[in-house]
Symmetry: C2
Subunit: 344 residues, 2 copies
DNA sequence: CGAGCGAATCGAAACGCTTCGATAATTGCT
DNA sequence: AGCAATTATCGAAGCGTTTCGATTCGCTCG
């Protein structure tokens, strides 16, 4: 494996010249730079990662701690992991994957052995063990998600409250006065990350502000549960004309299936809005209006903030990514129930 | 951050003694070792990763190349990624995650900069670009999956052919003579990994060997497709008394839903066997007999083989993990159609 | 009693890079 | 022409380990 010495010899310069020619940290004559680059090319030289870490001040590696629980929704989880990896690569960073069973000890290990320059924390729970460890280590870190006590931390996340408010607004603007919310399974609210409650509470708050009637159900993943959940919604709000979905992909599909089965047309009889989903909604029948959760957005920002911290401490902050609405045609004005309602 | 110098000073020995005391590569007096360990403890010393890589011969990092395509089934993919990470950690290795869009260039980069000791290759396609790169780099690598040309490579995978044969055997042993196979979506067979065809072909071969009638369908992920697929199976083999499922979790659920809907009881009217699934099958109604694809098995073995290669070249090989059958009660003797068949 | 040996320890040389300070060589000003 | 400032290059000192002799000491054995 060619070393910087070989490059220096072939180019006929000293190794420091090679280093500067490659890093650009000092001015080098154009002709020299070319000779160096040519030698690099010819030898297929790549700087040795270990030597670089040792001599330089950074490793160009981030740890990614991405706990995976039994009720973690794999596609979304995967989307975030990949988005972090890609964002990191675009900044010339690599990603070291830490798993659940090594959550805190792994952080200690990689940080105190200077294996990584910083940490990206995924799937943050309200009360997350990793928070304390990271505070203690004082290592650059960005949280994707928001722990209960975020003091001194750098956090990035979609603005779930604003997303919920935007969802309500869009439906109110279309004329709806009674809106149902179909959320994740109860387990997700009970223990997992804190975005589901944030969305739910934002939804209720926005609805209250608009004087809108609401109902809320948390179906399980399996088929019959969705049917029961919809029944519960209609039982509680017979006048309901729109539903917001904040759940997994399979729930979306199941809801549409059940609606179809009952002869309820979307959007003529019921408007549907998918909120904070990290999957495409335009392959559904019909395609669903959506306020998506774009993994790439949060992750890119998280990586950028982590890199800023590597050069020196930055102001702690909670950065909320503003939600955006995409129209697909699944929202319409509410049907006129006085004339003819398919459900009556 | 405490260095080996600090430890040496506190323990009152030279740094080489510290190194040997920690690595155990030379004999050290027990009393000395204790003093060293005590100093390590007190200072919270962790060897610097960069220095270690540079001086030592290994980095204790594996690259994991895990391409994620549009039709990749996220839960299974995730299961393998996590299993590799965990297996690696149990051998004191870390995992560097390489993504799709950097597949070959990323391999080049991490290998030639000596960032990693070896590579674990996931989701291997029959004709995979990464094969050529890895041959060229001559770096320790283990493939999880089997490329078309596996000459000189170290590969690990579930024995899908044997799994298919075992599935057929179990059903034949129960008395079935006509078995349907519900596979993945057509896209998966067309371009993706090569295990689906391996299973399918193994299924046909075993069926032929037993003189069994077969039919095969490839439903898409969405709901109606499963219904259509089942219709097609029964149309082709009205006498069919058992089906083997080799597909995603949602397909399993959908198949059971459709069967229930049609009044077909499992296993009284139709026996069902889940094959090579990487998810649990005991939460289904009814729980399904299964020949699982255990990510941890293949991944553990893959990591072990990679580590062996780090110490020196090993014999290239294709290691097939033998399938195992777990009974859950979804297989029964075929119904006696002469008396009364729910479908007739 | 001295040669020989093994155990325990040390010193120093890598490992391949970054970076600081020093040295030339060149240019710009007065 | 003389001096300062600028540009281009080099040498060498780390960075924190591992590892290879070399050294010291206490024993054993002939």
């Amino acid at each position: 494996m060619a070393s910087i010495h070989d490059v220096a010899r072939v180019a006929g310069v000293s190794i420091s010249t090679v280093s500067y020619a490659l890093s650009g940290k000092r001015s080098i004559a154009a002709s020299t730079r070319l000779r160096v680059l040519d030698a690099v090319e010819r030898l297929g030289y790549r700087p040795n990662a270990g030597a670089r870490m040792l001599a330089g001040t950074r490793t160009n590696i981030f740890a990614l701690t991405a706990p995976f629980h039994a009720d973690t929704y794999a596609p979304a989880h995967m989307a975030f992991v990949l988005a972090v990896a890609q964002a990191a690569r675009e900044h010339d960073y690599d990603v070291l994957l830490l798993t659940q069973d090594e959550a805190t000890s792994g952080l200690r290990r990689v940080a105190s052995s200077s294996l990584v320059d910083g940490i990206i924390v995924l799937d943050v729970a309200g009360d997350d063990d990793r928070v304390a460890v990271i505070r203690e280590l004082g290592v650059p870190a960005t949280f994707i998600g928001i722990p209960k006590d975020a003091a001194g931390l750098v956090c990035v996340d979609l603005d779930f409250e604003a997303a919920a408010a935007l969802a309500v607004e869009k439906l109110v603007a279309a004329g709806h006065r009674s809106i149902g919310l179909i959320g994740h399974s109860p387990g997700v609210y009970a223990r997992g990350s804190n975005f589901p409650p944030r969305f739910r509470d934002g939804f209720f708050a926005a609805a209250a502000a608009h004087g809108i009637e609401t109902a809320f159900v948390m179906p399980e993943r399996d088929g019959p549960s969705v049917r029961i959940a919809l029944d519960a919604l209609f039982a509680e709000r017979p006048e309901m004309t729109a539903v917001v979905l904040h759940a997994e992909e399979s729930i979306h599909a199941a809801v549409l299936d059940v609606l179809r089965e009952r002869g309820l047309r979307v959007p003529q009889d019921l408007s549907v809005l998918a909120a904070c989903a990290s999957f495409e909604t335009d392959h559904f029948e019909p395609p669903l209006d959506t306020i998506p959760l774009v993994a790439a957005d949060s992750c890119w920002r998280a990586v950028t903030l982590a890199i800023e911290q590597v050069s020196g401490p930055i102001e702690p902050r909670i950065e909320l990514v503003p939600p955006r609405f995409y129209e697909r045609g699944s929202i319409a004005p509410p049907p006129d129930r006085h004339l003819a309602s398919p459900r009556s």
